[in-house]
Symmetry: D2
Subunit: 376 residues, 4 copies
Amino acid sequence: MPHQTLRYAMIGGGQGSWIGEAHRKALALDNTARLVAGCFSSNHDRSQAFGQELGLPDLRVYGSAMELAEAEAALEDKPHFVVICTPNRHHLEQIKMLAAKGFPIVCDKPLCDTLAEGKEALKALASPGSGLLALTHCYAGYAMIKEARSLIRKGRLGTLRKVVVEYPQGWLMPEDAEEGKPAMSASTGVSSMVDVGTHAEHLARYVTGLQTKEVFADVSSFVPGGARTPDDFNVLVRYEGGQRGVLIASQSSSGEQNCLRLRVYGSEGSLDWMQEDPNLLILRLRDQPVQTLHRGQPYLSAEAQSCSRLPPGHPEGYLEAFANIYRSFAEAVQAYNRGEVANVDFPNAADGIASLAFVEAVSKSSETGTWVSAQP
Amino acid sequence: MPHQTLRYAMIGGGQGSWIGEAHRKALALDNTARLVAGCFSSNHDRSQAFGQELGLPDLRVYGSAMELAEAEAALEDKPHFVVICTPNRHHLEQIKMLAAKGFPIVCDKPLCDTLAEGKEALKALASPGSGLLALTHCYAGYAMIKEARSLIRKGRLGTLRKVVVEYPQGWLMPEDAEEGKPAMSASTGVSSMVDVGTHAEHLARYVTGLQTKEVFADVSSFVPGGARTPDDFNVLVRYEGGQRGVLIASQSSSGEQNCLRLRVYGSEGSLDWMQEDPNLLILRLRDQPVQTLHRGQPYLSAEAQSCSRLPPGHPEGYLEAFANIYRSFAEAVQAYNRGEVANVDFPNAADGIASLAFVEAVSKSSETGTWVSAQP
Amino acid sequence: MPHQTLRYAMIGGGQGSWIGEAHRKALALDNTARLVAGCFSSNHDRSQAFGQELGLPDLRVYGSAMELAEAEAALEDKPHFVVICTPNRHHLEQIKMLAAKGFPIVCDKPLCDTLAEGKEALKALASPGSGLLALTHCYAGYAMIKEARSLIRKGRLGTLRKVVVEYPQGWLMPEDAEEGKPAMSASTGVSSMVDVGTHAEHLARYVTGLQTKEVFADVSSFVPGGARTPDDFNVLVRYEGGQRGVLIASQSSSGEQNCLRLRVYGSEGSLDWMQEDPNLLILRLRDQPVQTLHRGQPYLSAEAQSCSRLPPGHPEGYLEAFANIYRSFAEAVQAYNRGEVANVDFPNAADGIASLAFVEAVSKSSETGTWVSAQP
Amino acid sequence: MPHQTLRYAMIGGGQGSWIGEAHRKALALDNTARLVAGCFSSNHDRSQAFGQELGLPDLRVYGSAMELAEAEAALEDKPHFVVICTPNRHHLEQIKMLAAKGFPIVCDKPLCDTLAEGKEALKALASPGSGLLALTHCYAGYAMIKEARSLIRKGRLGTLRKVVVEYPQGWLMPEDAEEGKPAMSASTGVSSMVDVGTHAEHLARYVTGLQTKEVFADVSSFVPGGARTPDDFNVLVRYEGGQRGVLIASQSSSGEQNCLRLRVYGSEGSLDWMQEDPNLLILRLRDQPVQTLHRGQPYLSAEAQSCSRLPPGHPEGYLEAFANIYRSFAEAVQAYNRGEVANVDFPNAADGIASLAFVEAVSKSSETGTWVSAQP
């Protein structure tokens, strides 16, 4: 069957948004979909200007998400899906709007600002004619993360005991905002738990399949200045099966770049993966030499193989991981359009809900000094 | 100025060619150009079938390079350039054909099979109305390679003394050919000096700016079996300025992946870069802590910054390096179309000639047991 | 002044005790002291046999610590100090006994089994004529740990924010005990918090100078079998100055070796040190290339230089770190014998008390599910 | 059988000699032998002063090697062996002198200055009553080097193909001599081939068992200044069995420390060991995950186990490797004294001869521009 390039529209992701650019490149890489419409700014002129840079016809560039949803839904060659890259606080409204028009949605994480909003979004998605939503927890798209999940499912680690997931970040430090440089958290009032912590939480859950029972958290705000949004989270985790976890999420870790790392310990061995060196996965089995598995090698699982594009030793990176999320989503969209259900592998709204429940439990634990349930 | 997506055609790179796919993805990544025509096989049906998979109209898919060149040259929306991904032995003929029609060309390395052919190609390119050719020595496209070059130009290493460039490869071992798996050298009779050695030679020259004076080589064929194409090259290099070099190129290095590594030593310090970990560059200055520079960081040179797409800690890989070659080539094509000359940064036919001169000097040295000039 | 080799006696550390051997080698390395007496087993014959292997005369090998203390104290060429390598539960009694005889003491960590015992030991040490005790938190002896402390004291990290110290261990897993192999915790009923956690706690305190205010802990016992001594500790830490910490100590981390790691974050940068690669220290300053500092280099602090024996690139290891503790202790003993007070740098009884207070707070927190003060 | 501590004397290795100190520490570490006599300087007063620092009685500290040899040979408690740490140019004379007195000898490498001298030394050693000589190619003493040798002997790499051994050094750069800092080569007129190259040559031979047939070399002198002793050697090697090799030895590699590295390639896989990270050995088998083997682990060979002192994850270093040479030599001495021949494992005079033959072949090749036999 010939490859079908889908059509998509984008809301947000305009001038200066590196994540918008990452979405577009990830979609272009595999020729998964081409951009046909967009709303890149609530300022109509700016939106048009940016659309022109991207080669879009003015007719299909809008000044509001609502306009886009309505106008595009009416077209014969309407987008197969719409990507939301706006600030978190707009997600709920836009999800509802797009779901109402029957558009499959890709939403940059987190799903929404709060668990309550997330639940409302989920309800909107459950309405007839809608339902497909991918959340771009892009780190779950790395081939070696697929391998990690596969090894755990095969029982290579024995009985799971413990998860250590860390996301110390320093490249976008909140104090930078004060110096006029981009800074995720401080500039938007979004805590680092939402910004980077949800990635860590999702990755641990995705790879291990463990469900969080309860959390205990210590939350701090180290960066001086106005907002004092929490920028450092240290969380103890108890999973349903009795396993233990430690989650560290921080954007005040000076000197770090984007150092997401996952370690999983079981009775027979442990796994270690680092996002900054994503083409390899370390497997430490008891009383055996340490193994380093490399992307692209024939000994990897089918899941890891299918998420790989290049031969071993030819590094893939962040955009390939991102593109893997999109590739699976595109299959789901095409299956959906044929009235089928694809065997898909991308983070969805339920994942978003689980993350938001985790975030809220962390906040509450920090306030009360007690273990708090993370059940959605 | 709005981004202009160019049009391109491809010759070769059909079913089963991972390098053809790499070219297409590298062009898609930045929306640099879109594929409008192709000749993917000398078997017309297979070419058509593959073109359909890529979404091309049958009309613009051909069974011979000649047909493509003639038909496409006559179109109003003809390709802005043509990519050659065929076996090396076809390069000369195709370059001449495309140059005669005035097409800018991207040619997968090496330029040709022999130095004599390379010189003939260069002559063809010098004819009026032609002239633009990029050779995809993709490793020169990495951002941290730009940084290495910049640091050397700034004199950070002092007076250059020595270059050690290695390319031990094991992922495509010639013996694999006998087991029916893809294997670059053995299956095509191309020596590993051409296949991987030219990448190493080019990278060292690109980063240091040094010109090879003469070489002494020891050439071996370790892999058992029919062809016995040389698969292991150890070369001593003398540069024009008195610097020394060691070049190792091998495809019989069992266990290795694609381990291209470049070290440059000067009076004040040394640089170390490894292709399998391409987002970093190690700078060792005398009597100072070792520095590790990371792609995307603000302290890098403008050259390195401009070849970077993602924030620090978000790995870029092989395709981004490849895409950087294309991005610069596309600028050159656009400038050329405007009658201007762009300030470009991509390997060209002269580079190809220098590599082929090096390859031939290596062969001759190995045969004669003497130092041999590598002047083209 | 000629180097003076001291004399020492050892209690414990007999047949099969690798730590006893480590003490002896650390003392021999620098010719710091030579063994002149010992009690290597409570079985007199076994003690004698082991003493003979070590080349000791039978007369100075004893079957009880008490005998050793009394007999040796009466000799003219009595030991300058006595080393305790017995199981923790014997430490208090032996410390009291040796202190009563006026012997300077080196005690393998931990000081005692409980905080109450530790306080009793401290009281014994304060009696007239006694007082010198070194606790062999050997990891604090590494040259690059001295450098880390020096950098922090010089303010290179700015205001300290956070400490992450981990000690996942797998080489002595408790289940091994059941298979007849040596296994620290399970075989002795000592929790991993005491066994490895105190090393981590001490290292963090030593390098940063921060005092723990309170802890919150989650304690588990993953290894199946009889004793079910806790083998996994995840601890959140709050320091007096408002800094935060995470301490992970585990002996059920299958696949790990002895992976003590310390990271310290401040407003201007962070430090990273790994015990398994101890000759280097990573310094990450904001917006600068990552620096790797190497033992033996001229750019290091005087403290780090003075703890180094070999030129750069000639690895030192665990025994050198251990020997550094002894070297400083020997200086203190000699100063003490001259009636002076040396400027010493080794963990002492007060450090032991602080560790035991930490251990007890961890236990109590785990039981109560609350933050617990770690003040001794 | 109780451990017997031997007695030794040392010639050279006085004030400011770090290698003399390394010998003494390596001997102390395992209580292998204790220093009983020495000649630390040809200036009698300086020799005495240094002997006093080491705690030697004046009577047994001499101002000439000859005096030491004669006086000590006459004593009842004479040394079991004598260590030579003098400049290379004195080795032959001292070896002859000590051999004549029947002393087993440990000689710091190289054996002598020239191959002719080496052969003369070998003849002297073959005289009745003499014969034991260890050459401290200390890098061969590392436990993981024993493992590498064992894996190759077991055929784990299949048929050997190629050896790449490098020893770029920058910590003792010749230009430092001009600045009044210690600098091996320039200050003594000894080429880097002798100083570091012989270590590399020996290590490759020790691990692989391959005999060099012929070499081709390019020799340079990069460091400005008076002596212009060659400081950079790039050597192509052909082994008797048809294998190929590359040897790089350099002391003008600014920024490097002591970066001895050995890679061995065979038909089934390759080995990789780096002296600066000596507790691990990388084994890359075709189509399998890369394995990292760690010192102290139960899966290692008996040879590697027997050269290990500490549990896994507790780093050993240079001195332990050095001490392993001495441990084996001490066994040989004791066996010799009992009239037996031990199964020993240390570099000997024949190894020294092989290295010197290699060095001379390198020089000659560089002069003649031809392949030169390296047969002694």
